[in-house]
Amino acid sequence: MNIQLETLGQTTLVMPQGRLDFGSAPVFQQRLEQLLAGGGTAPAALIIDCAGLDYVSSAGLRVFLLAARAAQRAGTAFAVCSLKPPVREVFDLSGFARIISVHADRDSAFAHLQPGRA
């Protein structure tokens, strides 16, 4: 799995590409933990842009859950956007779409995370 990062102002965008399964989940988890580590270095907002993500299993869902909790602890606003249909289906069935802020695209994720509106 390839993971790209982009910084826009106070927001860090994380773009995982390919398959998020048992094999790749530890790498993705480690990357997110680094970004959301305490010590005042965590970004004000973090968006995981899933436009390049083709597949997610329960091992991948677990990483999203842990990242959402780490973001909460770090005081970082957290959102997920641009889910492809197979990923969206897994999010919906697992109830994750109710506990994690999920948006159709980057723009709506940004709008949601605007300070004072999140």
């Binding site: 399964d21 048992f22 094999g23 597949y55 299993s57 329960s58 091992a59 869902l61 677990r62 859950l65 842990l66 959402a68 909790r69 909460q72 249909p85 197979p86 289906e89 897994v90 069935l93 697992s94 109830g95 109710r98 506990i99 994690i100």
Partner: protein, 138 residues
């Protein structure tokens, strides 16, 4: 080509190869790629369950995966010679729990049951046999 079978040791390193086995079957049978998700996911969840629960005796169990395409749909059967374990006996996770209260595990089998039309477990001799069937619209 309506039926295929493969067997590997119950080691996480074999997940990628099993996924390729499924994808090759899918392509050769001309099945619609958009409907592969339930089977790819079920293969990973069930195989990884065997890998994690099946090494009780020390050695990794032997895992056999077979695919059978019929009128009613595709049936994937995963058999292993590990200790008796019925994944369907696990209680379903609370999918309405809040972010803080969500357990981090237990979703795999739940997702498989949601996505498949039918899932059944049988202990056959010294083997666990989990069968999953889903209709494929063509």
């Amino acid at each position: 080509m309506k039926q295929r079978q493969t067997a590997v040791a119950g080691d996480a390193a074999h997940l990628a190869g099993l996924t390729v086995f499924l994808q090759e079957f899918w392509a050769a049978a001309n099945l619609p790629p958009t409907q592969a998700l339930p089977f790819e996911l079920a293969l990973e969840e069930v195989f990884m369950n065997v890998v994690m629960h099946g090494a009780g005796a020390g050695a990794a169990p032997w895992v056999e995966v077979s695919l059978c395409l019929a009128d009613e749909g595709l049936t994937m059967t995963v058999e292993d010679d590990g200790p008796q374990f019925d994944p369907l006996s696990l209680p379903p996770p609370d999918v309405t729990a809040s972010l803080a209260q969500r357990p981090v595990g237990g979703l795999g089998v739940f997702l498989v049951r949601q996505m498949m039309d039918a899932v059944s477990y049988r202990r056959v001799g010294a083997r666990n046999r989990l069968s999953m069937t889903k209709h494929i619209a063509r």
